[in-house]
């Protein structure tokens, strides 16, 4: 019993964090789903969702209900177990990275020493889900999507890591809180603009969004890896995508944009979280903006860009960082 | 492209070369071919830089007539080459010379049942597979015309210049045994 009481605060903390994580994931999906459609609409000179509620703000709720009501179709020759498992695998791991993200100096689930590693490790699981989903669908288009996703993600993880590594060399820690703390006078985007750009390009590829949305390229592969998915199993992939966008944008905020630091707002103690969210959603707006501007790249060009431009630049950047760190 | 040179070559290959009034008919030359000269003719046309506009069949008696339409990229020279199919409704293919003819020949096979000997893949293109023997554009007995009935008739009353045709087409006395429906 004493053991129970001793771990009780920790248990409550875990439960609260998990609930908060779920709220963030679903809330983010609602906000982003609506914002993306609205922004896409206005970029295309049309209003976007307008029918359900004022300016269509309940559209996503209605869509969610519709998706829940839909039949989950499993193709005849698909692998039924893996086919059903893949969406869960895409969705489940997105909660854990949220635990280590410092939303403000006080609001953080766990300040782990290996915070960044946790995020990167779990973010990669999403890729496995795409592969399993694409493969188990027994559809050639899905398979193509899965293959493309794997090679693209593996390739783009390298420049992403290299760009983050140059920050790690400067701060000597994987703890996200410490990284934020290290940016007290100037944000790292000022010191490491190149690393920020490389990271930005990489996360577009990592989250499989246009112009790098090759795994789902609808004009080529109909819908890529989720061609055969319907109803909730499809929406779990979408939820996973938005959650991943949130996580990679949070990492960018933490590593380059000073995390929750900002001018303290009057009469509000936790102004950090507002600054943090503002930065995260600015980055996400950027992701939406470029998605609705550019055509899709071709696969070999995508890889060429990674190997010819991003990785050399990231390596040079890292090298310069290391030398500078040693000298100063 | 030297038109006189080309015309000389046509005359060697064909039975008749006719100058047509472009203002009335919309093409310049009409060439009648023997069916065994079709391939030579096509090869010659490709050498001279003509492109294949169209390939079609017209169902007339005594035999189905296959019409090849050529035109030239540089000069205005639109040519209709005609050849009749043989008793087996066969004619040799030109799809290895003009690859564009491939689909036209398949279509003609669909619609008229003309067999193009040597065609690499003479399967139904426009029609469905089960309609192989439908041949929808073959005329029924009552409507079938003789080849002379669909040729340009020489103006009978007065030899008018063809460039300025009479605006009243009914006025032209065409001795055509027309059996059209009203």
């Amino acid at each position: 019993m004493e053991i129970f009481y001793s771990i009780l605060p920790e248990l409550i903390r875990i439960v609260v964090c998990a609930v908060c994580g779920a709220v963030i994931v679903f809330g983010n999906a609602l906000v982003m789903g609506y914002a993306e459609r609205k922004l896409a609409g206005h970029i295309m000179l049309r209003p976007g969702p307008m029918e359900v509620g004022p300016h269509g703000i309940y559209q996503l709720v209605v869509d969610g209900l519709k998706l829940m009501g839909k039949q989950l179709v499993v193709p005849a020759k698909a692998d039924p177990l893996l086919f059903r498992f893949a969406p869960l695998l895409a969705f489940a791991p997105v909660f854990v990275p949220l635990l280590v993200i410092p939303f403000s100096s006080k609001l953080q689930g766990f300040d782990l020493d290996i915070g960044l590693l946790v995020i990167l490790a779990l973010a990669s699981i999403n890729l496995l889900a795409v592969l399993i989903g694409g493969w188990s669908s027994n559809n050639k288009y899905s398979l193509f999507g899965a293959f493309r996703a794997v090679s693209q993600n593996v390739a783009y993880e390298i420049p992403m890591l290299l760009s983050l590594l140059s920050i790690i060399f400067m701060t000597n820690t994987f703890s996200l809180k410490a990284v934020v703390a290290a940016q007290s006078p100037v944000w790292f985007i000022v010191i490491q603009p190149l690393a920020f750009l490389i990271y930005l390009v990489s996360i577009v590829a990592e989250t499989n969004r246009a112009p790098f949305d090759l795994p789902e390229a609808e004009s080529e592969l109909t819908a890529g890896f989720h061609t055969e998915y319907s109803g909730m199993s499809f929406s779990l992939f979408v939820l996973g995508e938005y959650a991943n966008m949130f996580i990679v944008s949070s990492v960018a905020t933490v590593f380059f944009l000073g995390g929750s630091s900002g001018i303290p707002l009057p009469y509000f103690e936790y102004s950090g979280i507002i600054w943090f969210m503002l930065k995260v959603y600015t980055l996400m707006f950027f992701l939406v903006w470029i998605r609705w501007t550019y055509p899709r790249t071709r696969f070999d060009q995508l890889m060429n860009f990674c190997w010819k431009y991003l990785i050399p630049f990231a390596l040079v950047n890292l090298l310069i960082t290391v030398v500078m760190v040693k000298l100063l | 492209m030297d038109i006189n040179k080309v015309k000389k070559q046509w005359q060697e290959l064909s039975t008749a070369v006719e100058d047509i009034d472009y203002a009335v008919s919309g093409y310049d030359y009409s060439v009648c071919l023997e069916r065994d000269k079709v391939r030579d003719f096509a090869a010659m046309m490709l050498d001279e830089g003509f492109y294949l506009v169209d390939l079609m069949a017209v169902h007339v008696t005594p035999a189905i007539e296959v019409v090849y339409q050529f035109a030239h990229f540089e000069t205005r020279c639109r040519v209709m080459a005609r050849a009749f199919v043989d008793d087996q409704v066969e004619i040799s293919t030109i799809s290895d010379i003009y690859q564009g003819a491939n689909w036209h020949e398949r279509e003609t096979r669909d619609f008229h049942g003309v067999v193009f000997v040597g065609h690499p893949y003479l399967e139904p293109l426009i029609l469905a597979e089960e309609d192989v023997d439908l041949k929808p554009l073959l005329k029924e007995e009552a409507k079938l015309q003789d080849v002379d009935a669909v040729r340009r008739q020489p103006p009978e009353p007065a030899p008018e210049p063809k460039a300025k045709p009479e605006p009243k087409p009914e006025a032209k006395p065409e001795a055509v045994k027309s059996q059209e429906q009203s």
Binding site: L39, G41, H42, I43, M44, L45, R46, P47, M50, W289, I290, W292, T293, Y294, K308, Y309 | -
Partner: protein, 146 residues
């Protein structure tokens, strides 16, 4: 090496130009209409299905049952018939139906009509559940019209 960098910079610049266009569009007014709630004014020249014209003076249609439109129609979608009546010159129209499912809106019937008895209607919201909904009885329509 030079082309390597110049390609990078021209490419990046072209991407920025694209972003400029879309961000401008984002803050431009929308150009679409929310259709069932807002309706555009359809031009009076719009050619919907045909209708019999109501003569402003007599209040009746102008059809003389000559049947030109029926003959001219390339798709055989018009059917009309008339009967001999006392006191009426020629035939009086008894039935005039249009099978709109077959109509290709070519306008041949309107142009051939000797008395200008036919005109295009301006209806464009045409949706139905059965084909029979588009078998219009034009005679009835002209009588019911104001």
């Amino acid at each position: 090496m030079k082309s390597y960098f110049s390609e990078l910079f021209t490419g990046a610049w072209s991407l920025i130009l694209g972003l400029k266009v879309t961000i401008k569009a984002l803050f431009s007014p929308i150009v679409t209409y929310q259709y069932p709630r807002e309706k555009l004014v359809v031009t009076p020249n719009y050619r919907g299905h045909i209708d019999l014209v109501k003569d402003a003076e007599t209040g009746a249609h102008k059809c003389i049952t000559c049947g030109s439109c029926m003959r001219e129609c390339p798709s055989d979608c018009i059917f009309l018939d008339g009967e001999k009546r006392e006191g009426v010159k020629g035939k009086a129209l008894t039935i005039f139906t249009l099978n709109f499912t077959k109509c290709s809106l070519c306008g041949a019937c309107v142009e051939v009509c000797p008395t200008d008895a036919l005109d295009y209607s301006n209806e464009y919201e045409l949706a139905g559940f059965t084909r029979e909904e588009f078998h219009y009885d034009l005679l009835k329509r002209v009588e019911e019209r104001e």
